[in-house]
């Protein structure tokens, strides 16, 4: 039988086969090693990327509080309703045995435009949830086309059905929508400024991050202005992350891991929201102006308001172009913070001159100076605003009636250097607020200008200095060497400076800082806006991460009797001088009025847009509050700024004795020009302003030019020597104090 054939061939060949087999097994194991061990991490990474979705969890932004812990800016939850269209359509398909309504939509652009037949998600949504939505009268904030396009392109991403709905509606909605899967409510944190326009310039606002995002840590919302911007790094929390698991169809199956976001730090301001409220209310009607209230013993800014202002809530979540246009095109500049912008101070600067003279021992409080209606200094007549001789008067009387001729003489007598030194003691010409990590607390803060002979010399030869610097850096610099300009400081400049005109430019904040030092007896403090920053540590306890202590700037070194004389003078201004309207019964206010003349062009016409000032403190016997009010377009310091000081101080007084302040939501204060005085279109003014205009624009310090733009006070800025005759002949008065009657 064939089966009995001997097995002759097999053995040798099968041996070869077994070797081949072993080699194959070894190769497979080797290849497995390669895939799993050598390249294992590569494949593990690919696995991660296809089964997980990292999601950034936005941290809640920290609050901004006033000094008493009242939140001025915080987060509220915005309740949205999201619809998962795929789920809705799927459920509908199940209940309707797969019969889905269809509709045609146009997709694509241009040539590729074509009609596509898709499931009518809009109709399905209306059938599923329409009743509920109608019952709750939720506004339909989307079009049918938006919904269909969304369903066609991104059915897995929730469609936002309603945004920022009210909590009551939401709770009703949650009750009724329980039966509908695929409709969910979502809470998202949204910035809220609790009191509207209150301290809007200080708080600033937030906006969407613009620019190229870097990684997952890029915040969505960043501070754009004010404290929101400066303290953004503290207010921003730590973003959390959530890793979601998804399957091959992209459905989210669950959460793999989650790291909670950490809420941002809380910034404590020195502002007292109650005083801020009083100030804002007092300033509302004036149209354009600013008011600063400070604690004289610490330099804490208790209130700082600027009108017109804006409601930062309009920037949340994003400002619409109409509102933005309105804000930026408004000629009264609601976005501009006037409390830290520099102005000519007018007579309020006389306090500084008086202090300089007393410190310099030029006069004593009892020294009298003969003050006629005009004095002849530096080749021209310098007039008082009062049409009569004051006679021999001492410092107190001069302050009381804001006598210009007294201070012209006093300024010349004591010398510009002592005035400048006094000004520098207060920090005039410098930024007042401390810097945070090398950044200005309020980036728009202006430094102002304290003019001095040296400054004038430098300014006159600034082109030469720039040329020398360029030449030193680059020996091949070929430009023509500018000539030396021999512009010198004269007593005329000193006169102008003595009454706070001319080149003097000081911010309301600086003036308040000065008044703090006067009120507390001679210690100059840095104004402080931010007390500190706290945040929650890992255990949930509040920890102080940043503290800004009270910082002393300098000592005035004025003896007590002299300081007392200044206090008395300032008190006399309010009791019986130019500032009577500022007085408050039971709360003795002291201060100095001032009116800086200012010309501007409004609708093509030259108008007088005076700056009315009041700079003072209260109470007289136990100073606690320093205040500065400036009103643009005011009639005069006493008549326009005085009543505002009265309102503010009265409010503070009532608050101190136990009155309550209504913290109301402020709508933005509207800017206006009601206080400007039209100047008759006198041809001579046009005539003499024309040539002077050129001089000014070329001579002006670049920074000043930028800030003041066309609103340059031509009269004030003209060189006293060259315009001597004309000014004198026209009897042009500098620093008019309005009568208070």
């Amino acid at each position: 039988m064939l089966i009995e054939s001997p097995n002759i061939h097999a053995e040798g060949r099968l041996r070869v086969l077994s070797i081949v087999l072993i080699l194959v097994v070894i190769y497979l194991i080797f290849r497995l090693y390669e895939v799993q061990i050598s390249e294992g991490s590569k494949y593990a990474e690919r696995l991660r990327s296809q089964i997980t979705v990292p999601v950034r969890l936005s941290p809640a932004r920290g609050s901004i509080m006033d000094r008493n812990g009242l939140p001025l800016a915080e987060n509220k939850a915005s309740f949205d309703i999201d619809v998962y269209l795929r789920e809705i359509v799927g459920n509908y398909s199940r209940t309707h045995k797969g019969k889905l309504p269809k509709t045609n939509i146009n997709i694509g652009i241009g040539k590729a435009r074509r009609s596509k037949n898709i499931v009518d998600a809009d109709k399905i949504l209306a059938e599923t949830a329409g009743e509920i939505l109608e019952a709750l009268s939720l506004d339909k904030s989307f079009t049918r086309k938006q919904l269909l396009t969304h369903y066609n392109q991104t059915p897995d991403i929730p469609f936002q059905l309603a945004h920022n709905i009210e909590f009551n509606t939401l709770s009703q909605f949650t009750e009724r929508s329980l039966g509908i899967s695929g409709i969910q409510e979502a809470a998202r944190p949204v910035r809220q400024y609790n009191y509207g326009a209150l301290a809007s310039h200080i708080l600033g606002y937030v906006g969407k991050f613009e620019g190229t995002p870097e990684g997952n840590d890029t915040p969505e919302i960043v501070g754009k202005k004010g404290i929101e911007r400066t303290f953004d790094q503290y207010l921003q929390g730590q973003p959390g992350s959530r890793i979601l698991r998804k399957n091959n169809k992209g459905y989210i199956l669950g959460v793999e891991s989650e790291m909670e976001p950490k809420i941002g730090g809380t910034v404590y301001l020195t502002l007292d929201a109650r005083i801020q409220q009083i100030v804002e209310q007092a300033m509302r009607p004036v149209g354009r102006g600013a008011c600063v209230v400070m604690n004289v013993w610490t330099g804490d800014i208790l209130a700082m308001a600027s009108v017109p202002n804006f409601d930062p809530n309009v920037f949340i979540p994003a400002v619409d172009s109409e509102t933005w246009d309105r804000l930026t095109r408004d000629s009264t500049k609601p976005l501009h913070d006037r409390s830290i912008s520099h102005y000519a101070t007018g007579s309020t600067f006389k306090t500084v001159v008086a202090l300089a003279a007393l410190k310099n021992k030029t006069i004593t409080p009892t020294t009298t100076i003969f003050s006629p209606r005009a004095v002849y200094i530096a080749g021209r007549n310098w007039h008082d605003w009062y049409e009569g001789d004051r006679g021999d008067i001492n410092l107190k009387t001069a302050m009381q009636w804001s006598c210009n001729t007294f201070f012209y003489q006093l300024g010349v007598k004591t010398g510009i250097d002592s005035i400048v030194n006094m000004g520098k003691t207060f920090g005039f010409g410098e930024n007042m607020l401390q810097t945070i990590d090398g950044q200005l607390v309020l980036p728009t803060e202006q430094s102002g200008l304290m003019p001095s002979p040296q400054w004038m010399k430098d300014r006159a030869n600034r082109h030469l200095a720039a040329w020398k610097k360029r030449r030193a850096e680059d020996p091949n610099y070929k430009a023509r060497r500018p000539g030396i300009t021999y512009e010198r400081w004269s007593n005329g400049h000193t006169c102008n400076t003595s009454i706070g005109q001319g080149f003097v430019a000081i911010t309301p904040l600086q003036l308040t800082t000065m008044m703090c030092a006067v009120a507390n007896g001679g210690t100059v403090y840095f104004p402080r806006l931010v007390r500190g920053v706290t945040r929650l540590d890992k255990k949930g306890n509040t920890e102080l991460i940043k503290e800004y202590p009270v910082v002393k700037r300098a000592d005035m070194n004025i003896n007590e009797s002299d300081m007392k004389a200044i206090h008395d003078s300032l008190r006399a201004v309010v009791t019986s001088g130019t500032g009577k309207k500022a007085g408050v019964d039971g709360f003795p206010v002291c201060g100095k009025t001032g009116t800086a003349q200012f010309m501007t062009t409004l609708n093509g016409r030259r108008v007088k847009d005076n700056r009315a000032w009041f700079n003072g403190f209260a109470p007289y016997d136990n100073p606690r509050y320093a205040i500065t009010v400036i009103v643009e377009g005011g009639k005069g310091g006493g008549s326009t700024a005085g009543p505002i000081v009265h309102k503010v101080m009265k409010g503070i007084y009532e608050m101190e004795v136990g009155g309550s302040i209504d913290m109301v939501y402020l709508t933005p204060a509207v800017g206006h020009y009601s206080g400007v005085l039209e100047v008759s279109s006198d041809s001579s003014i046009e005539e003499d302003s024309a040539p002077v205009d050129n001089v000014i624009t070329t001579d002006l310090d670049a920074a000043l030019l930028e800030q003041q733009e066309q609103n340059v006070n031509r009269t004030q800025r003209r060189d006293p020597r060259s315009t001597n005759r004309r000014v004198g002949s026209r009897n042009w008065r500098f620093d008019d104090e309005e009568d208070d009657e």
Partner: protein, 434 residues
């Protein structure tokens, strides 16, 4: 040599039996792991079904082990005819599943005659080779054997089951080796395989385009997108056309299109085949299309690392990236490698390797050439399935849908494998005693 049942039981190859049972059990466990979450596809009972098939397989195994294999070979022609009838009946009465008409359904039970016919093929070819044993070195004999072998292969190809058909090559080859045909003829297929591999690598993958799949210039014939032909009769002309297409695909006029179409018809490979070969070498070229399966399989295996993710924790199949309908049969090795890591995977490969080595041992110790041929054929079956299945999951061979013996889900194939091992045991039981 007449042995009683008890004597036969004592002469079992215990190692091979143990390995077989180990592999079957492993298979059932991992089939469970791969399917317990697949309710939506109705696969959650796969492991239980596999248990039932395992029981049937054991019956087949012991029956065939205890029968003398000589009896089987003597009935070779009948078995051959039976298998041909079965295969024909599939073509007429079969059920089509996933593009291949290879199932016969009797009531609730379905089976694939193509799998059973593998064993029938081994038995009947053994009969044929023994019949021509004295003329085995003559060329006409070889031709005859190949002609006979082509009959079932052709019928299986007619069902559209390319994977099963391809296994017949190695099976026949190994049987011819054991039968003792001339070595020069044996060398020919090896050279052929090497040549095809080299052509695929150098001629297609490393051919002149280096870009992505999408970079293949396309033109439209009857509204279908077609890739450019690869191997041209006239390379220069083709290059010109290609350039023209690349420069401005809008300006292909009808004449060009016709010319291209003519060129096209002369090509050896269709574009999808070209793409398949290229994506085999580089799955990242088309990660969502032709490269999807191999890519996901590699991710599954590679992410397993040294120790794996743990039983039932294979993320690739849980999240459905390793398609659920093939994870438990064709890609069961990927699931095992992902869950047990390199340690488990290499142990599994070694285990199957040992089983195959035992088969070589059994073939060597067979009493006669008949036994040797049977074991070689069955060994060839196991070896081909093992190499192709494991190889395709780790990118050694292209993706071909054939299962892993004893482990993959699939009742007919499990029973087939166990029956095959039963015959092997029978050969061992009736082995030559020194």
């Amino acid at each position: 040599m007449n042995l009683s049942i008890a004597q036969k039981l004592l002469r079992f190859h215990w190692f091979a039996l143990a390995l077989m049972l180990m592999l079957c059990t492993t298979g059932i466990f991992f089939i469970y792991s791969a399917t317990h979450l697949s309710q939506e596809m109705g696969l959650e009972n796969s492991a239980r079904q596999q248990c039932i098939w395992l029981f049937l397989g054991l019956i087949g195994f012991f029956t065939l082990a205890l029968i003398n294999y000589e009896w089987l070979i003597q009935n070779g022609p009948i078995i051959f005819l039976g298998s041909i009838i079965l295969l024909l009946s599939v073509i007429f009465f079969g059920t089509e599943i996933k593009g291949a008409k290879s199932w016969i359904r009797i009531g609730p039970v379905g089976f694939q005659p193509a799998e059973f016919s593998k064993i029938a093929f081994v038995v009947s070819m053994s009969w044929l080779m023994l019949k021509f044993q004295d003329r085995i070195k003559k060329f006409p004999t070889l031709v005859l054997i190949i002609l006979v072998a082509i009959i079932p292969v052709g019928l299986i190809l007619a069902q559209g089951d390319f994977g099963s058909a391809s296994v017949y090559g190695p099976m026949t080859y190994l049987m011819l080796v054991a039968a003792g045909i001339r070595k020069r003829w044996l060398a020919l297929p090896i050279i052929g395989v090497i040549g095809i591999c080299a052509f695929a690598y150098f001629g297609i993958y490393k051919a002149d385009w280096n870009g992505k799949v999408n970079d293949i210039p396309r033109c439209t014939f009857d509204g279908t997108l077609v890739a450019m032909p690869l191997i041209s009769i006239d390379p220069e002309k083709l290059a010109e056309k290609r350039q023209a297409l690349l420069v401005n695909s809008q300006e292909i006029d009808e004449q060009d299109t016709n010319a291209l179409q003519k060129l096209w018809e002369k090509q050896l490979l269709k574009p999808y085949q070209v793409n398949r070969i290229r994506t085999f070498f580089e799955p990242e070229l088309d990660p969502l299309g032709a490269g999807w399966t191999i890519r996901q399989s590699l991710i599954a295996v590679g992410s397993g690392g040294l120790r794996g993710k743990g039983y039932m924790r294979g993320e690739q199949q849980i999240y459905g990236f390793l398609p659920k309908d093939i994870a438990h049969n064709d890609f069961i090795f990927a699931v095992i490698a992902e869950e047990t890591g390199f340690l488990g995977g290499s142990i599994l490969i070694a285990t199957i390797g040992f089983l195959l080595l035992f088969m070589v041992q059994i073939a060597v110790r067979a009493k006669d050439i008949g036994g040797c041929l049977l074991v070689s054929g069955i060994g060839g079956l196991f070896f081909a399935h093992f190499l192709v299945n494991v190889g395709m999951t780790i990118k050694v061979v292209p993706i071909t849908g054939i299962p892993l013996p004893l482990i993959s889900y699939g009742g007919t194939f499990l029973v087939t494998c166990m029956a095959g091992l039963g015959i092997v045991q029978s050969v061992w039981i009736h082995r030559r005693d020194y």
